[in-house]
């Protein structure tokens, strides 16, 4: 038995050991008395104290003291229920907001996926110093799979545009996955079977599909006899072999309705060469590290394999290409910019906690004054400052614990609602895990120190009447609320700006048709013929005013971005490949120069913003661009592929024959575009029945894009309002307290004939500087740190004066009101009564 275990035994059997000790000492005394030994008799002293000293050897006396303090604290809190309730509520909000935010982060980035051995899963992406690509050629994936010894398994997933199931109006989301996908994740089906590497990894095998649990319920009413039946996807027949589990965790959080084996992709997408193409990225690659292998070792080996691949296909491998691995066993593979967002959210929620703590600190200080009598008595009977501090801090700790428990409940509720609203993966649960609980414990301690430490110290030293502490608390509250309000105002402005400002192109009356010719193995010449036919048929439809081609349509699935340096400044250039009709279809004005001519090459049209950045006010028309192109025109700015960023620039090149298989048709209609969809669909189908186009209304795509922004702005505004209300409650409390302390002074001043305004100034004067300093600190802090918000501001400057002014005015008005209400009550004081009081 080690010493620690013995110590624990003493703790658990404290009462018995204490009795034994007592009996020992009593016996000692009896013997000493019997034998009349003088030197023993003299040393008797206080038996209780002697016993306590002996017991201290066990090392558990602090528990006794703590439980004594806790009991006392609980009695104190129960005796003032109003204060306790306010304090717990304020803390519950402050801590609850933090708990929700952390739980969300925990779900996304920390919680391991409920799959087999999530720690060894890695996501593998193709990189080069210039290019970031999420998708890889399937042929390369196979090459890596066959040669990498550091990976025990390689999985690939290919997302495809929604597919038509039977002749439903609503298409189904579909993905192709390698046959080992489910086996590697250790997924067990709800019904039937999932992919079997020995049976389904073959292009010639009978075509099969696996249904997602949700789709099975939605489309097939949860009918168990669906297994074994045949369905038609884009008119291709396939057998349903199984249904995924209800709480199915996928790699990268993708959630298609239908899964198909990737080996059978050429069957489902007739004519596709996606599996054999060595250049175009079509699949996402995932791997499992072999036992004992680190990510660095795997990256090292893959680099050597990339070099080997370059020898085989020199054209298809980029200069400096390498494979980057990221831990893949979480809901989200975190990118540096996501951590930035997380840090920003953490900062905002911590600010709320700061407001709550400052608020509570003020309340505690005020309470300290009303408890002067009690504490005075305790000091008089010999309590040390330390002992009083410990007692007061224990009280704060108890409050913090109560607040945390309520905060945890609040956070759990908020998260549960959010998960339901967001249609999150079913395996995610709002129930706090050990990480969240640890976080809450940490928060409890931090909060207790923040709001309890300084007041306890001040009160223990009997300095609670000093105004400095109170002024500091007010300044802190004002500063933190100010930052929160400014951020909220900026985000609201940004949403407004994004929703109602002109993105530079018309989207209300535009329809896009993506026939996906490349996916069906169309050669450039065949694609050109198809598109020509399609365009001329579409032009014949009533109401169509213009039809054009574009490679990267607005709100499309692919975005291309060149990180360039223009005039010494880094600049993101968004390139696009279009035909001459495009600018008219999208309503983008040609400001200078001319449009593309048929068959033209080596020319480029730039956006006004690019022209300004590159040529600084000179006319760029006729100037060389990037060596081999000539600028022929300047068009208006249009954030086609970068809705969120205002300071981006665009360049347009004429689409060439080689681009044809990737082109998307955009159509402008005179009236409402909705009615045109069936007609357009009919035309596409009649041209080639194996092509299943994705037809979209740009306005719905735009709305969809904006929804998340609106939601974020709403959430942040909510947080901002909560912070301001917290601050207002705190200030009302503090002012009411200050006034009640000085009620006699107010009465005397009034009695001597002071005007009400003078009295108000005198009473509230101590808050003037703290409020001004707090406001300035808040504005300064917001201005310095809000640059990280730029991505979410849709082009609104992070120093937008309107947002700052609004925030400051709202806050100032709130503060004035919060101070005025309790102060006014003081002015109505019954002078005689106030002066007669004690």
């Amino acid at each position: 038995m080690t010493e620690l275990l013995r110590r624990l035994r003493y703790l658990l059997n404290r009462r018995r050991f204490d009795e034994e000790l007592q009996s020992d000492m009593e016996f000692h005394r009896e013997m000493a008395a019997r034998e009349g030994r003088p030197n023993f008799g003299q040393d008797f002293g206080n038996t209780l104290r002697l016993r306590e000293q002996a017991r201290e050897a066990w090392g558990w006396t602090w528990i006794d003291r703590l439980s004594q303090d806790l009991r006392y604290a609980a009695r104190m809190l129960v005796r003032s229920p109003g204060f306790t309730l306010t304090a717990v509520l304020v803390l519950a909000i402050g801590i609850g907001v933090n708990v929700s935010a952390f739980s969300l982060f925990n779900m996304v980035a920390l919680k391991p996926l409920p799959v087999r051995d999530p720690d060894s899963l890695v996501r593998l992406e193709r990189r080069s110093p210039e290019i970031v690509a999420g998708e890889m050629p399937y042929a390369s994936v196979i090459f890596y799979r066959d040669h990498a010894k550091t990976l025990s398994a390689v999985m690939a997933v290919m997302g495809v545009p929604p597919m038509e199931i039977e002749s439903d109006a609503q298409p189904a989301h579909a993905s192709f996955a390698t046959a080992n996908y489910f086996a590697e994740l250790g997924t067990t089906p709800t019904l039937g079977r999932l992919f079997d590497p020995t049976r389904d990894d073959d292009a010639g095998a009978p075509p099969v599909v696996v249904l997602s649990h949700e789709f099975w319920l939605r489309r097939f009413g949860g009918d168990p006899s669906v297994v074994g039946t045949t369905i038609h996807l884009n008119s291709k027949q396939a057998t349903v072999i199984g249904v995924t589990p209800y709480a199915f965790a996928t790699l990268g959080g993708q959630n298609p309705d239908i899964w198909m084996p990737i080996a059978q992709q050429p069957y489902f997408v007739e004519g596709s060469k996606a599996l054999t193409d060595t250049s175009a990225g079509v699949v996402r690659m995932w791997g499992r590290l072999a036992p004992g292998v680190t990510a660095q070792m795997a990256e090292h080996e893959l680099l050597a394999l990339t070099d080997e691949l370059r020898r085989q296909h020199p054209k298809d491998v980029w200069d400096g290409e390498y494979i980057k691995s990221d831990p893949g066993g979480h809901l989200q593979v975190m990118q540096p910019e996501m951590y930035q967002v997380a840090a920003m959210v953490a900062l905002l929620t911590l600010l709320i906690l700061a407001v709550a703590c400052a608020n509570l600190g003020g309340l505690l200080l005020a309470r300290g004054v009303t408890r002067e009598h009690e504490i005075g008595i305790r000091v008089a009977v010999g309590a040390s400052q330390m002992r009083i501090f410990r007692q007061l801090f224990t009280e704060s700790l108890l409050l913090a614990i109560l607040g945390s428990v309520s905060g945890l409940a609040l956070g759990y509720t908020a998260l549960r609602v959010a998960l339901q609203q967001m249609n999150a993966p079913k395996w995610l649960s709002a129930v706090p895990d050990w990480r969240v609980l640890l976080f809450v414990i940490g928060m409890t301690c931090i909060a207790a120190v923040f709001f309890g430490f300084a007041p306890a110290l001040q009160i223990a030293r009997q300095r609670q009447r000093k105004t400095l502490a109170r002024q500091l608390l007010v300044a802190a509250q004002v500063a933190a609320s100010c930052v929160l309000l400014i951020v909220a105002a900026l985000l609201v402005r940004a949403t407004h700006h994004a929703l109602y400002s002109d993105p530079g192109f018309g989207y209300e009356q535009v329809l896009s048709i993506d026939p996906g010719l490349g996916r069906h193995g169309y050669t450039p010449a065949a694609a050109r013929n198809y598109l020509n036919e399609l365009q001329s048929r579409l032009r014949g439809l009533p109401g169509v005013t213009s039809v054009s081609l574009v490679k990267l349509p607005p709100m499309g699935h692919t975005i291309s971005k060149i990180g360039a340096e223009v005039a010494g400044r880094p600049l993101d250039i968004y390139p696009n490949w279009v035909d001459a009709e495009f600018f008219r279809t999208m309503g983008i004005p040609i400001l200078l120069g001319r449009n593309f001519l048929p068959g033209e090459t080596n020319v480029v049209i730039v956006s006004q913003s690019l022209a300004r950045a590159q040529w600084r006010g000179e006319n760029p028309v006729g100037k060389p661009y990037w060596g081999h192109d000539i600028v022929i025109g300047v068009v208006g700015n249009a954030r086609i592929n970068s809705l969120n960023e205002d300071d981006t620039v665009e360049e347009y090149e004429p689409a060439q024959l080689a681009d044809m298989p990737d082109m998307v048709v955009t159509i402008k209609i005179a009236g409402a575009p909705d009615g045109l969809i069936p007609a357009a669909k009919g035309i596409v189908q009649s041209l080639d029945p194996k092509v299943f186009p994705e037809i979209r209304l740009l306005k719905s795509a735009f709305r969809h894009e904006m929804q998340s922004v609106e939601l974020a702005a709403l959430a942040i505004s909510g947080i901002g309002i909560v912070a301001v209300l917290l601050a207002a409650v705190g200030i009302i409390g503090l002012v009411a307290f200050t006034v009640s302390q000085r009620i006699k002074e107010v009465a005397i001043r009034l009695a001597l004939g002071a005007r009400q305004a003078q009295v108000l100034t005198a009473v509230l004067g101590q808050f003037r500087w703290p409020v001004v300093c707090g406001l300035m600190a808040g504005v300064g802090f917001a201005a310095a740190t809000s640059r990280v918000l730029r991505k979410f501001l849709f082009g609104v400057s992070n120093l937008d004066p309107a947002s700052y002014t609004t925030a400051i005015v709202v806050l100032a008005a709130m503060l004035a009101l919060a101070a005025f209400l309790p102060a006014r009550r003081a002015l109505r004081v019954d002078m005689a009564k106030a002066l007669h009081h004690d």
């Binding site: 010493e3 009996s23 016996f27 000692h28 009896e30 023993f40 002293g45 206080n46 002697l50 002996a54």
Partner: protein, 113 residues
């Protein structure tokens, strides 16, 4: 009530555990007997106060050098007897060896300096 004096350091500091272990070497004793034995064996030079004896006993109980068991005192009272454990025996040996070395060193200084 007599005044409580702070006990004068009669005992060389840190030697009480060793003395307790030593007197328990020849058989188990109760607390009072330990104090008495030390007092008697030291020809009444050393006195062990209650306020020092019991905390020290608790400490060496925790260390596992002695165990306590119930027994009957000479006055027919149920009382705890402390007994040396094998670990306590080992501890006593090392403490005695250490103490010997220290006292010899001190003696050497006192003789020559």
């Amino acid at each position: 009530m007599p005044m409580v004096d702070t006990p004068k350091p009669i005992m060389p500091s840190g030697t009480l555990p060793m003395l307790i272990l030593r007197v328990l070497h020849s058989g188990s004793l109760h607390g009072y007997a330990i104090a008495q034995r030390i007092h008697v064996l030291s020809t009444e030079v050393l006195a062990v106060e209650e306020g020092l004896l019991y905390p020290t006993l608790q400490k060496i109980l925790l260390k596992g050098w002695v165990t306590a068991e119930w027994g009957i005192s000479e006055t027919n009272r149920k009382v705890r007897f402390y007994r040396l454990t094998p670990e306590g025996r080992k501890q006593l040996k090392t403490e005695l060896a250490g103490y010997d070395r220290v006292t010899q060193a001190i003696q050497a200084i006192l003789r020559t300096a």
